[in-house]
């Protein structure tokens, strides 16, 4: 069944829907802005902070690595130098010239580890006096070698890696001993494997490595990545410095040859010999963890993004749905209020009109009587004319009575009166009302069906007013069957404990009411009956009566199917109807004058 309400708002729906979707977009947009912008800022901030922090940590790590290894290498070299010094200072040339002595000394200084590969005693002129080692170096002349000259000045000398007479990279430590008038040199080759293992075994990830360079930029150890011991390093060594340092080497696009990736390089100079220790790693690998962390942050950020969007959309949907429901409810309420206020103001208006019309009607009636009297008093009138005149006068009387009925109804519609409240057994009451109408119904082929709830609680209401309402509804229901050979009117009662009252449904199988008419059905003077048949006040009066009694009346109808009026009546009289009456004290009860007015 279609109701007047559901039929109504079809043309207002377009712009409203647009409003909702605009609201929807606005909410989503604002929510996203206000949640995503801080999220982005936070993510960005965390990223920057974390990158800086971990980059600093990484640099610190590299620097400590390089310093640590420098210390180890320096310590190693220092110990070996001291070993040699000790030997030179505690032995005379004569002692060391003897091969077995020299052998014993070599064994002694190699007791802790095979650090020294050979040991030799060399004269001031650069000739070997004695030699212990795997190579045959006896009698070789060193006077022209680079280290020999330098040793003469420095007393102690640690060489760079060189191949020398033996064709294998090695380095030597030499000590110049002053023994009285004589000068002689104790010279030892250091096992390069051991030193190289110290440096070359430094492993940091896949690309991390350490190596030594001399001042000329020649590899003193073999780097793991590229290059070989004694090879030339592809980077500039720079000047000797006390401090260790760290540098990030960008990819050098301009230089020829194979491209090195971006690298982090920590470096430190050894004091003696002046070798440069380098610990380095590919930048990307070193910062892989940082990048991982950044990627994780990015993923979390992305997930948060999606989550926020999803939640925003869901929440906004729900919110819009709620708003739409509220709007619809308030629309409905507004419609009801408008209907009520329309009827109220129409009531005021009609009361005024009725009053104003009653006076002239009274005068017309009196004038009528005056004429009637005059006719009676005039014996000279022709009989025919007299008859005609009297008929007209009666007709005037009748028409004034008709007007009188209309104004009477109008005033009933508008008036607020204290009801004569009694206990009403609605079921019995309705049976009586039906009984009144049954005779007329039979003549029209209309059958009455009742579905009355058993043991219905009686209500406190005004039976005479209720009778008026139900007589009116049933009359309308019967009139709706005009042109149909038969039909039925069903009346049912049902108590509604939630609303504290009774619901009464009066349904007919008549012709139904079109949606346009359904909207105006309670308006005064609205009628579909032919002129003269109905005043259009019946339902208006019913409406105002039910409202006065604290109830409600609504209607549903479908063309061709019938119409259904649903009335609600509270168990007890409504409180605000009492209040209304207190506000209008000079309009007391419309009661039988015989009875004691309640005041």
């Amino acid at each position: 069944m279609e109701t007047a309400e559901s039929n109504h708002p079809t043309n207002g729906e377009g712009p409203k829907e647009r409003q909702y979707s605009r609201l929807y977009r606005k909410f989503v947009f604002l929510t996203l802005i206000s949640s995503l912008v801080p999220l982005l800022l936070l993510g960005w901030g965390i990223n920057i902070y974390y990158s800086n922090f971990s980059s600093a940590r990484m640099k610190e790590y590299f620097q400590s690595q390089v310093e640590y290894h420098r210390k180890i290498i320096e310590l190693f070299l220092k110990e070996r130098t001291q070993d040699l010094q000790l030997v030179a200072l505690t032995h005379s040339l004569e002692q060391l010239q003897k091969q077995p002595n020299l052998m014993r000394v070599l064994d002694a200084i190699n007791r802790e580890g095979q650090y020294f590969t050979d040991l030799g005693v060399i004269s001031e002129q650069g000739k070997h006096f004695a030699y212990i080692g795997p190579y045959d170096l006896m009698g070789k002349d060193y006077s022209q070698t680079f280290w020999f000259k330098e040793l003469m000045e420095k007393k102690v000398f640690i060489s760079d890696m060189f191949t020398g007479f033996r064709d294998a990279p090695h380095f030597i430590i030499a000590f110049l001993r002053f023994e009285g008038e004589r000068r002689w040199i104790l010279r030892a080759s250091i096992d390069t494997d051991y030193l190289r293992s110290l440096v070359e075994n430094v492993k940091i990830g896949h690309t991390g490595e350490a190596y030594l360079l001399n001042q000329a930029g020649i590899f003193q150890t073999s780097p793991r990545s590229s290059g070989k011991i004694m090879g030339k390093a592809p980077l500039a060594v720079g000047q000797f410095k006390e401090d260790s340092g760290i540098r990030i080497l960008e990819r050098d696009q301009s230089s020829p040859g194979p491209q090195l990736p971006k690298q982090i390089v920590a470096y430190a100079w050894l004091k003696e010999p002046r070798w440069l220790l380098i610990v380095k790693q590919d930048y990307d690998e070193a910062f892989r963890n940082v990048n991982h962390a950044n990627q994780a942050t990015l993923i979390i950020l992305l997930l948060s993004f999606l989550g926020i969007i999803l939640i925003t959309v869901i929440i906004t949907r729900t919110m819009i749905k709620t708003i739409r429901k509220r709007d619809q409810e308030s629309d409905q309420l507004n419609k009801q209020l408008m209907q009520a206020s329309k009827l109220a103001s129409l009531g005021e208006l009609s009361a005024g009109v009725a009053h104003e019309i009653n006076n002239p009607l009274a005068i017309i009636l009196m004038e009528n009587q005056v004429v009637r009297d005059s006719v009676e008093e005039t014996p000279t009138l022709e009989e025919e004319f007299k008859g005609q005149l009297q008929e007209s006068l009666s007709q005037i009387d009748a028409q004034v009575q008709r007007c009188n009925l209309i104004t009477h109804n109008l005033l009933r519609f508008s008036r607020r009166t204290i009801s004569l409240i009694e206990m009403v057994d609605l079921n019995a009451f309705l049976r009586e009302v039906i009984q009144l109408m049954e005779g007329r119904g039979k003549g029209m082929g209309i059958q009455f069906n009742t579905t009355l709830e058993k043991d219905l609680k009686p209500i406190l209401s005004d039976p005479s007013k209720l009778q008026q309402v139900f007589l009116n509804l049933i009359t309308n229901a019967m009139d709706a069957h005009e042109g149909k050979p038969y039909g039925s009117i069903s009346i049912s009662t049902r108590s509604n404990s939630e609303r504290q009252g009774v619901e009464i449904v009066v349904a007919d199988s008549g012709s139904g009411i079109s949606p346009e008419n359904l909207e105006r059905i309670f308006d005064p003077f609205f009628t579909t009956k032919p002129v003269g048949k109905g005043t259009g006040l019946g339902l208006s009066i019913s409406y105002s009566i039910i409202e006065q009694l604290g109830g409600a009346i609504s209607v549903q109808s479908e063309i061709g199917q019938g119409t259904q009026f649903t009335l609600f009546l509270p168990f007890g009289p409504a409180k605000d109807s009492q209040k209304n009456l207190e506000e209008v004290p000079d309009q007391p009860s419309l009661q039988d004058p015989e009875k004691e007015p309640r005041k």
């Binding site: 009636l365 009587q369 009297d373 009387d397 009661q591």
Partner: protein, 137 residues
């Protein structure tokens, strides 16, 4: 039977005159006034049996006039004329001692009937009073 004296109080001059015309023909002595104040003054000049009083009048309204009338002449019978809207005021009028009320528009026969009834009651009432207090005449 002596002629009953009727005072008609209504601000609608045409209406008052018509009633006056009609009931004087039917053997009453009629006076018309068009407001409450004149009605009260008319009471001073002459004695009335019946007063037909319209409730809705400018100036002194019907109910106030009724109070003054009843204060001056408690024995006079008052028939109230009222529009539908002020039917409740008609009931108020009865409480204030009016004989009855009639709603406008009214057929003359009905009005005439009410006047007759009122006059009869007045007569009965007077008899009773005379019967109770024979010394008063």
């Amino acid at each position: 039977m002596k002629k009953a004296k009727v005072l008609i109080v209504d601000d609608e001059v045409a209406f008052a005159d018509n009633i006056a015309k009609l009931i004087s023909k039917r053997g009453y002595e009629v006076t018309t006034v068009n407001n409450g104040q004149s009605a009260v003054e008319a009471l001073d000049e002459s004695d009335f049996d019946i007063i037909i009083l319209d409730l809705k009048m400018p100036g002194l309204d019907g109910l106030a006039t009724l109070k003054l009338i009843k204060g001056k002449r408690p024995g006079v019978e008052v028939i109230i004329l009222t529009g539908h809207g002020s039917m409740e005021s008609g009931i108020d009028g009865i409480q204030l001692g009016a004989f009855d009320f009639i709603m406008k528009p009214v057929r003359f026969e009905d009005l005439h009937e009410k006047i007759r009834q009122a006059y009869q009651r007045k007569l009965v009432h007077e008899e009773n009073v005379e019967g109770l207090m024979p010394d008063s005449q």
